[in-house]
Symmetry: C2
Subunit: 138 residues, 2 copies
């Protein structure tokens, strides 16, 4: 998130230290409740470069949000899944998705991606009813 010599003073700062980054929220979201391989994440986040993806994955792993499992196979197989901490972040990201869909619709390029479903959207349809519609992408 930012430049800071010492530990953050407020919890929310610590949270943003972990999850703010060009691709981090999207990585967390697209892993979701599944286990995803490196290449799956890469193709989900189309324009990302392998270098960047690797670095963000490593950072998320260091912060305890995802877990990396490597299988000794040929070809190599590596799977990522969320830790409990990462899983508990999913609904919060859903709230942010709903908030943005309501308050920043003009700042999202692809209309079909302006909305999101998944479980939090149903949970919160009274607040962000637009969320309960068609598309899925965060």
């Amino acid at each position: 998130m930012a430049v800071r010599d010492n530990l953050p003073q407020w919890p929310v700062e610590a949270a943003f230290d972990c999850i703010s980054g060009r691709w981090k929220p999207l990585i967390i979201w697209c892993i979701g409740y599944d286990k995803l391989r490196y290449s799956d994440i890469k193709t989900s986040l189309v324009p990302i470069s392998p270098h960047i993806l690797s670095r963000q994955l490593k950072s998320l792993e260091n912060d305890g949000l995802i877990i990396r499992i490597q299988y000794q196979e040929v070809p190599l197989r590596v799977e990522y899944h969320l830790t409990p901490a990462g899983l508990e972040l999913l609904p919060i990201l859903g709230y942010l998705c709903g908030w943005a869909s309501v308050h920043l619709p003009s700042r999202v390029s692809s209309p079909v991606r302006k909305n999101c479903r998944r479980f939090f959207c149903q949970q919160n349809s009274e607040n962000f009813s637009v969320c309960s519609s068609a598309e899925n992408i965060l």
Copy 2:
């Protein structure tokens, strides 16, 4: 949040474009339901420099999260308060605060600030029970 030529593809990206920044979540939080003067925010976020505060306030204003009201008095008085969009962000920041208090306690420096109350903490005490305790800071 990051370098991007075009509009974000996903709502959550748009959200992070608005709220990720070294001080932005804290500014939103400390304004809360009040109206705060420039100097009030400045003294709330102790080590912030006037330059940085000014820039982050302007960015938040451009993104429609806060409103700046200038009174033609001597000395000059300027008040900031949240827009409806900014207000709806408060509970989400509260969730993040609770999440970090639970999952990143060791990454917050001041123990007395590890918890948060305010309305969302009571709302969510089943999930983040640590939140319903003493201290207030986000």
